[in-house]
């Protein structure tokens, strides 16, 4: 019998009669009735305030006052019935639950808003044409994104080629090799994951673009800097989950360290490493700030990432959104919608791959 079951059995109902223990965590019919009544009466009170007594308006104000009134009424009711301690517990429980669930509301609002704004002008031609022949006065339906999609794919692809081997090797160093740098390195990897993206862009501008030219490759370098700590951290976490028994078995059979790492540790953590890579890509695919000073942006197709300005999804959306033409701003939403679709696909893939790792263990 679980501890919870024992406690519930001992506790019975939640009334504080002397000598009869109450269960602090039980939530029985009476508690539900009190909760529903508190919600109802606070709603009624707020409605009364808003429509009959005070000249207030606005949905945000209504929600805020409703929540505040609910907290006061609920606290008073529970305090009257079960005492101060229980009342405080219920109060904090309500605040924590409501706030935690409320965090997701802006996300949902954002997704709905971007979809509503972007979907209406998204045509299939977006994926097959470029912006070369589209001017600010062309109709919004005429929006081409091919040059940006190609640019993003090339830039993120090259960034992956640079950052993934470095990141995975760093994770191996942190968890398998365990050299002297281990402790400071872990701190600096964490710190680097917070490096502002604009600083990475400025660095590549000073380091590369000033000596060469704006190019997709320069953007890849900046994105790789941002991707490296994400890949490292995520890979390290999954490598740490590989059971030590597997490593020891491999070493005991006489295989050297590098074979143990490459043939036992990494394959065991395979789906976790894939998750790490996907998380890294999702981290940089929407980065705009470093692209301003590296890829620069272009309305025409540039297939060569090593020379000349190149477009990218977030960069094009940013530049269009800052335009003074209404049609261009509407175009920016089309770009934004396609961009968030890409991010969502990556995110779902990463979750799915992480879920496979957990399922197997």
């Amino acid at each position: 019998m679980s501890l919870q079951a024992v406690r519930d059995r001992v506790a019975g109902s939640g009334s504080p009669t002397p000598g009869k223990p109450i269960s602090p965590r039980s939530f029985n019919t009476k508690d539900i009735v009190v909760l529903v009544c508190a919600i109802g009466s606070s709603l009624g009170l707020t409605w009364l305030l808003f429509t009959q007594i005070l000249p207030l308006q606005g949905s945000q104000g209504f929600l805020i006052i409703w929540f505040a009134a609910f907290l006061v009424i609920y606290y008073a009711a529970v305090r009257e019935m079960d005492g101060k301690m229980m009342a405080r517990d219920r109060l904090m429980g309500s605040i924590v639950s409501v706030v935690a669930v409320a965090v997701t509301v802006p996300l949902i609002l954002l997704l709905i808003y971007v979809t509503a704004k972007g979907l209406q002008f998204l045509r299939l031609a977006f994926f097959t044409t470029t912006m070369a022949n589209v001017g600010p006065l062309s109709p919004v339906e005429q929006t081409g994104g091919l040059q940006a999609i190609v640019g993003t794919l090339e830039q993120v692809g090259i960034a992956m080629l640079i950052a993934v081997p470095l990141g995975v090797m760093t994770a191996i160093y942190l968890n398998e090799v365990r050299g002297r740098l281990q402790r400071p390195l872990r701190i600096f990897v964490d710190a680097m994951s917070g490096t502002p993206s604009i600083v990475a862009g400025l660095f590549i501008f000073a380091f590369w673009v000033q000596n060469h030219s704006f190019s997709g490759f320069a953007a890849s370098l900046a994105l790789a800097i941002l991707m490296l700590p994400t890949v490292t951290r995520a890979t390290e976490v999954v490598i740490r989950l590989v059971p030590d028994g597997l490593r020891e078995a491999s070493l005991a059979l006489g295989s050297p360290e590098w074979r143990t790492t490459m043939k036992v540790v990494l394959p065991t953590a395979r789906s976790g490493v894939i998750t790490a890579i996907l998380l890294g890509v999702a981290r940089v695919i929407g980065e705009t700030a470093p692209l301003i000073m590296t890829a620069f942006g272009s309305a025409t197709m540039n297939l060569n990432p090593f020379s000349g300005p190149q477009s990218a999804m977030p960069l094009a959306a940013f530049q269009l959104f800052r335009s003074s033409q209404t049609a261009d701003v509407e175009r920016a939403w089309v770009y934004a919608f396609v961009l968030i679709l890409m991010v969502l696909v990556l995110f779902v893939l990463a979750r799915w791959s992480a879920g496979r790792q957990f399922a197997r263990r």
Binding site: Q60, P196, A317
Partner: protein, 388 residues
């Protein structure tokens, strides 16, 4: 298996690097006498270099050595491939440190012309009119830094309590089936690009906060932060809205750090608090929050680092101003990163160098905050910073 290793180490430790595990090893002896002594104790000794060097294949141990047995010294001998592998991993991992160093170095070199020109005034001047349209005394990061900090502080004031609540809900309150979807949704908040937050903030949120900010100005106008600066104040593209949006971007990072620490609270102590008759909130206050203090502080600092460096979202939401004022709910704000992104296109010469100098300041500040945060988080992760 009594071996050459054990005995010989007892006789002459310093000249005998082989371990007992090695079935064959090369030994460099100090004197022919010592070699002879060893040779009497092992079955097979192949001598390759006369007098001073030998390869001994150990099949059986010799007689008693006389000396008391000492703990065997384990020396790990790696193959060449392993040494190369370790070297590669070390090299790859030091790339992180080298990169951080290079970023600072390059920004400093490129920022020198502007810093030489402005001197210490760079940190105290508010306006931004570098030499292409001003003089050496007319540009600095004071106002930029002020607004960067204001936006970050607004974001943290909102994000930290919300993150603690979200982490508590996920670890303590939520039924099991709701935990994973909720965690996914909060992580998805982190995956949404900064650009989209900016576009949403400018297109949707800014207009919908006008009511609240107007109410604050009308009813709490005696507080300097809310006091209207002119007769017809404009609300919307303000530091308040920017802070609100940045708080959304910071919440998932802070939440994930706090959640990780909360989930490591010893279950025995939680059960103990509940068994003593504590309510759930009593248990959280007595056990979970004190245990998670390091994680809360570290996570908040990590979030602060992110908030300070946020660029595009802020740039799209605010209308830029280059002076310091207490009111943060009216239109007008700024940030170092947003300013760099905005002014970059037209800048060259000393003006460009000035932007790199601003970037250097931003890099320095965020690096300090982030290293502090990472150090605190690592300590609370390993449990060293927590008294149990």
């Amino acid at each position: 298996m009594p071996t050459l290793g054990v005995n010989a180490v007892a006789v002459n430790r310093s000249t005998f690097p082989c371990t007992a595990l090695a079935r064959s090893c090369s030994v460099h002896f100090r004197s022919p006498d010592f070699l002879r002594e060893v040779a009497t104790r092992v079955t097979t000794v192949g001598i390759f270099q006369e007098g001073t060097s030998a390869v001994a294949t150990v099949l059986d141990g010799g007689g008693p050595s006389g000396a008391p047995p000492k703990p065997r010294q384990i020396v790990q001998i790696r193959t060449r491939a392993d040494r190369v592998f370790r070297g590669l991993a070390t090299g790859a991992s030091s790339s992180t440190l080298i990169l951080l160093f290079l970023i600072g170095l390059f920004l400093l070199i490129k920022a020198l012309p502007a810093l030489k020109c402005a001197g210490l005034n760079f940190l105290t001047t508010s306006e931004w009119n570098p030499p292409d349209r001003g003089t050496c005394e007319t540009f600095g990061v004071a106002a930029l830094m002020y607004w960067t900090v204001v936006i970050a502080v607004i974001a943290m004031v909102i994000a930290v309590p919300v993150s603690i609540a979200a982490a508590l809900f996920i670890t303590e309150y939520a039924p099991r089936w709701i935990r994973r979807p909720l965690t996914s949704l909060i992580d998805l908040l982190a995956a949404v690009p900064s650009l989209l937050y900016g576009m949403w903030g400018a297109g949707f949120l800014a207009a919908r906060t006008v009511g609240i900010t107007e109410w604050l100005a009308n009813h709490l106008g005696f507080i300097p932060f809310f006091k209207p600066t002119n007769a017809y104040p404009i609300y919307g593209p303000s530091a308040f809205v920017a802070g609100l949006v940045v708080s959304l971007m910071v919440v998932p990072i802070v939440t994930s750090v706090i959640r990780e620490v909360f989930s490591q609270v010893p279950p025995g102590e939680k059960e103990g608090a509940l068994a003593l008759g504590g309510t759930r909130w009593g248990m959280i206050r007595a056990v979970v929050l004190p245990f998670g203090r390091g994680g809360i502080i570290g996570g908040s600092m990590l979030g602060l680092g992110r908030a300070l460096g946020e660029t595009i979202a802020i740039l799209l939401i605010i209308s830029q101003i280059y002076y310091i004022r207490a009111n943060f709910i009216e239109a007008g704000a700024n940030s170092i990163a947003a300013h760099i992104a905005n002014a970059f296109g037209e800048a060259n010469g000393v003006a460009l160098s000035a932007l790199l100098a601003a970037g250097l300041v931003l890099f320095g500040v965020t690096l300090l905050v982030n290293v502090g945060a990472a150090a605190i988080i690592n300590r609370s992760r390993s449990g060293a910073g927590v008294e149990i």
